[in-house]
Assembly symmetry: C2
Homo-oligomer: 332 residues x 2
């Protein structure tokens, strides 16, 4: 697909800052793409960008309006339709990370067709994929894996891409979820792919490349998550990762959404991910641990990282507090 930037970030009538989490992720990681924000009356969120009308955004060269806001039921609000039609009439595309599809709103579909514009429903893959062939391909790949869902895999992946590029390495973040896709401008929501094609979709997302190039692949779920481990397995096989980064949130009491399930020990989680990865890349190894210590104070965070580092014998960093330089060092 390749969503064109610059973006106008659409916050609609977001009831609070948390509802604009997706937009915040895009603005944090691609500030140079985000020209401004659009807010309806009553919007309680802000990205700290200039407020623009649709006309101002079009004049400023915005190519896509990004709906980066959660909504009740995940659908396109009726209150948004008029203004989104105006965006299409002004020649901008629309991209949305909601469950409900832009393409299912008749007025948006009609306006997009009339204006020759595109609607990107990034949670819903529109292309077909081949079954994975498992063939070894050139280029290197790093995959983030986790003890649980929502432990910072996307953040760690983006931090690794940024650190690699800072060092002059050739690297591309490869997005597998809706926020990541809006940040990358392309990608596949792997959890929305038909089950037979999970690893095939990941092979497509991370194709053969120059021998020195790194694809930094956003992980999803966890091998230890009873709902989503199938997705995580397909990702491990399709990515054929050379390097794994294990992501963790140390204060999590149970697996997300599953009160009966505790988190796996880190060493077991590391071993199982390596075992699964080694089916398609026998050289796969874990190179570091990315820990989200945001719920800990500085001293507790330091202790937590030191303990993990000591027990696993791998660099353990909080990408937000410390950056990921030590993880990228470990690739050498």
């Amino acid at each position: 697909m390749a969503i064109e930037h610059p973006y106008l970030m659409f916050l609609g009538d977001a009831p609070d800052q948390l509802a604009a989490k997706t937009a915040k992720g895009v603005a944090d990681w691609r500030p140079e793409w985000c020209k401004g924000q659009f807010r309806l009356d009553g919007c309680q969120a802000s990205l700290g960008l200039d407020d623009m009308t649709m006309e101002e955004a079009a004049d400023a060269g915005c190519r896509t309006v990004v709906v980066g806001v959660a909504n009740r039921g995940g659908v396109i609000s009726e209150a948004w339709t008029d203004v989104l039609v105006r965006a299409l009439n002004l020649g901008m595309d629309i991209a949305s990370g909601l469950h409900g599809k832009l393409a299912d709103v008749p007025r948006l579909k009609e306006a997009a067709e009339r204006n020759g514009r595109k609607l990107f429903d990034v949670r819903h893959p529109t292309r077909g994929f081949a079954v994975a062939d498992g063939k070894k391909r050139p280029g290197k790949r790093l995959l983030t894996v986790g003890t649980d869902c929502s432990v910072g895999k996307m953040y760690a992946s983006l931090a690794v891409e940024a650190e690699m590029r800072r060092r002059g390495m050739s690297a591309d973040f490869r997005a597998t979820g809706q926020t990541g896709i809006l940040i990358a401008g392309d990608g596949v929501s792997v959890d929305a792919v038909i089950a037979d094609f999970i690893s095939g979709a990941v092979e497509w997302l991370t194709p053969a490349n120059d021998p020195g190039h790194w694809d930094v692949v956003e992980g999803q779920g966890s091998l230890f998550h009873a709902s989503f481990a199938g997705v995580s397995t397909g990702l491990l096989h399709g990515a054929q990762p050379d390097a794994l980064v294990l992501c963790h949130e140390p204060t999590r009491k149970h697996m997300r959404g599953l009160p009966d399930y505790g988190l796996p020990p880190l060493d077991l989680c590391r071993r199982r991910n390596e075992e699964v990865a080694q089916l398609t890349n026998p050289a796969a190894r874990t190179i570091g641990v990315a820990v989200n210590t945001s719920a800990l104070d500085a001293e507790a965070a330091r202790r937590c990282l030191a303990e993990i580092e000591d027990s696993l014998g791998l660099p353990a960093v909080d990408p937000v507090r410390d950056g990921v330089a030590r993880i990228v060092d470990a690739l050498a």
Copy 2:
């Protein structure tokens, strides 16, 4: 859905016996449901059933015409449409295991609606599923797993169901692929489910039951298949199996469709499947091995089974040659 029987088995213009493999599976395992067969001119396959016209089938009480024949490209042949419309007009439903959908053929869709009849495209789940909750539920479940695809998991599952019923045990085969669904009259093609819902679909398929009841769940793929292991993982987690039966084909040179991948050692395959299964059912254990020895002569088969039995310390049988009594014995 629940496909109603008796069935009329539709063989169309099958070019050879192999093209009618799905129909053969249904006729072998549910002979009491199969009233007759329907063949067009030039059909080179037969199930050994009475040939019937659509009118004769309807008069004989057939409720569903089962399209159990492979076709070039997996689509509904135009040559079939007239006669399938006649079946709908006579009050019968149609069920198909092809990739192409009955519901995408306008004349079939129109005739089904006009007659209030149903079209079952068993490869394409039409219901939605919840995300798996991983909660322990009553009832016992046995799952067949494999070193590879197409090693006899469906056959072994059906043989176990039959043996359990023969002993007066309460047991139901739970189908996860198209042939299995036509045999069971219900089920889910798990490889066609959206990735996020694989294990949720299996929880739906194998719900809470009487404590002494066995669901015998048809496995799919293999943890060691680089294309399909995500599906196998979701099946292991969703089924929460108490018992695993490991299925194998000893003459297979490489993983199906993947010339670069050899088959896993049986003991490793057993251990990995148990490890994955134990996430949602810590009591999961392998109780036996079902070996498809059809490519071996009787003496070689005997030696092969003895070697496997010896090395794994589990009963190893060929369900076709020996039956599965020793596997069901191992449950006690």
